[in-house]
Each structure stands twice: as C-alpha cells, then as structure tokens.
Amino acid sequence: MLALKAINKSYGKRLILKQLSLTVNDGEVLAIVGPSGAGKTTLLRCISGLEPIDSGEIDLNGQPFDPYRNQNQDSVIGVVFQDFQLFPNLNVLENITLAPILVLKQPAATAKAKARQLLSRLALADKERLYPYQLSGGQKQRVALARALAMRPQVLCYDEPTSALDPNLRQEVAKMILSLKADGMTQIVVTHDLAFAREIADAVKHVTAL
C-alpha cells in the first residue's frame, strides 16, 4: 500500500501541490485526473523520486519511504513516461535488460530470459532486436512497460499513457493495465481523460490547479 499524507510541493514561489493526500491499495489502480497545469505530472514525479517533496509524508506498506533519496537497489516505483524515453542506442532487449543486469546484478542469461517472457506476453516477441526508432508508438510504450516491469516494481506509474498514441489504441492500453491488475500489480495512472480513468481505475483522485 502506498499512502501520501499532506504533501506540499512548490517550484520557486509557485505552489503546485497543497496538503495532498491519497492512498493506493495493493493490487488496485488509482487514476489521477485533472486539467493540465493541475500538478498531475509533478505528483507523479514526487512519487517516482524525480522530485523531492517540500513537506508531508510518503508511506509504503506502512513504513515511511522517501522515493527521492531511496538508496534501496530494488526499483520500488516503476515509471512509463509519456514520451517513453527508451534508450535509442540500445535495442529492445538491451533496453529491458540493462537495469536488471547493472542494478539488480542478474546474470545476463537470466535477465534475457525474463525479458523474453515479458516481450512475448506484450506481443513483442519478434521485436527484440529492433531499435526504438523502428517501433510504432504503441510498441514503444509496451517496451517501456516491459523495461519498468523487469525491475519488479511494487508500484507502477504511467504518465498520460493514452496521449501520445493513436486514439484507437486507447482500448489496448486499458486492456494492458487491467491485465496487469489481474496479476496483482499496483498501478497509478495520470490522465486527463476522465472516461478512460473510470474504465480502468478502482479509485479516481481529482487534482485541480491552485
């Protein structure tokens, strides 16, 4: 379970998050919705440890947890970025196995075998040798998802997973999220698409611009 309690965050003098609290239960999907500029992405950046919070508390499974300074080698929080941020100089398989080999110290053969399982599950089995520029948007997103999953995160975050894709892929993304939910993955989805949020989420958190 991930719980945020009374989080404050500002950039310079501009207050972005004010006394924000939320809870995500294990195996649930939380959607964070709101108009652009409401601080959805900032919230996600605080949860994933890319930004420090100014005040407040983050608990993971009942223990205080600071994602920004977390030195634990386990990737507790995984992120699928809006623009995916695959590494263009590495092929699909290398993108997925890089961190498990360097960070989790998995033997290369193990990391590859696990990556291939993820790829076949995400219908990318024949794409492992391709480079990111050779993939479609939807394929890139699934590689980014596989890369995050390979680190066995406790919570998986998505930043606007439908916005960089063709509208007809929206259903695919929803299916993907729900299938991971069936496996018990705890997920946080930032989106401005309320209908999409209702479709996938157990709970919806609304944020508004201050």
């Binding site: 890319l50 990737s75 929080i77 995984g78 970025f81 941020q85 590494f87 263009p88 100089n89 480079y131």
Partner: protein, 220 residues
C-alpha cells in the same frame, strides 16, 4: 622524356627528407589526439556541469584557447615561457600547445553534444536506479559520440593542416621539409609532393571518418 626521368630521380632523392618530415607530422598528430580528446571530454563534462565555478573557470580556458591565434600560443609556449623558467623541448612545446588548444575545441563540441541529450534520458535511467556513471557510460556517451562525430572529424582534418604551423618553432615537419628543398633547389616539385602528401592524409582520415559514422548508423 629525359626531363621526366630527371624529375623522378630528383623526387626519389628528396623523398627520405619528406618522409622524415611526414613522420614528425604524423607522430604529433596521433599524440595530440590521444591527449586532446580525453581532455576535451572531461572539460566538456565540466562545462555542462551544475557547478558554476567549474563552468566559469573552464569557460575562461576555452575563451583564451579559441580567442587567440594558435600560432601565438605556439610562440608563447616555446619562446615565451622560458622567460619565466618553463622550458620545453621543441617537440614537447608543439605537443603541449596543440593538446591544450584542440582540447578546448573538442570540449565545446562535447558540451554541445551533452546538452542536446533529452533530460528525460537521465530521468528514465534514474527511475531504473542506474548510477550517474552507469548512465553516462551506457546511455549518454554513446549518444553524444554519434552526435559529435561529424564535428570531431572536421577538427581532426583541420589538425593535420594546422600542424604545419610548427615550422615557426623550428620543427622539421612535412611542410618544412618541402619548403627547404624548394628553396635550395629552386623547383616547385617538393611543394607539389607536400601538397599530395596532405591530400593523401586527409583522404585517409575522411575515409576513416565515414567508416566510424557508419558504425554508429545502426540507430537514429
């Protein structure tokens, strides 16, 4: 017919001295690159760093190196520094001047390359829990190399030709060898041969550059 034979004979007579000059040019070329490229990467990383003092000090260094003539820097190192009791051998003076001058140009190229990498690349590496150096080595530098290759190649070709400036401190490089022969024997042939020598060198380098760029063309 007789004239052509004589020309060939003359060319083979002066060839040993030209080759000796070529050897000096080539060894300076290789050693300058071995010194200036790593130094340029380090200075480039420093120029793109978040420490303002480091950025400023390196900025002054780059400004001086790019803002004054290379010829002045050569003269300064070899004829100027002995006045304050820093004495270099001719060859070492040339090497030193070329390394610090070219490192500044390389540093600016690397800085530009580093700054053109999407900050999102560092962030996605960070959420995967890669360390800074793992990120630089596996993700950032390979991408920077691809970006900077054309500019680096350009500078490398410039270096071959810039090295002819070492005549000013009395080093016997390729150009000087040809110049001496032309002055002594009142014939254009040595200078033509020198020109052909430079053309061959730059042709080889251009070919090498193309090979390396091709090596990096497996992704976009």
């Amino acid at each position: 017919m007789n004239g052509i034979v004589a020309q060939w004979q003359y060319a083979s007579q002066i060839m040993p001295s030209l080759l000796l000059g070529l050897k000096t040019t080539l060894s300076l070329f290789v050693l300058t690159l071995i010194g200036a490229i790593p130094l340029g990467i380090v200075v480039g990383l420093g120029r793109a760093s978040r420490f303002k003092v480091v950025r400023q000090i390196l900025g002054v260094y780059v400004w001086i190196m790019r803002g004054t003539p290379l010829l002045l820097q050569l003269i300064f190192v070899f004829y100027g520094l002995p006045i304050v009791h820093i004495v270099f051998q001719r060859y070492n003076a040339a090497l030193f001047a070329f390394i610090i001058n070219y490192a500044a140009y390389f540093a600016e190229i690397f800085r530009g390359g580093l700054q053109s990498i999407d900050p999102g690349q560092y962030e996605s590496a960070k959420v995967l829990r890669l360390t800074y150096w793992q990120t630089v080595r596996k993700i950032i530098l390979p991408q920077v190399m691809k970006i900077v290759l054309p500019s680096i190649g350009n500078e490398v070709i410039n270096l071959v030709k810039d090295l002819s400036l070492v005549y000013v401190i009395g080093l016997g490089d390729l150009l000087r060898a040809g110049n001496v022969a032309t002055a002594r024997d009142v014939t254009l042939l040595p200078l033509v041969l020198v020109g052909i020598g430079y053309l061959l060198l730059t042709a080889i380098l251009t070919f090498g550059q193309r090979k390396v760029e091709k090596h990096y063309s497996y992704y976009k």
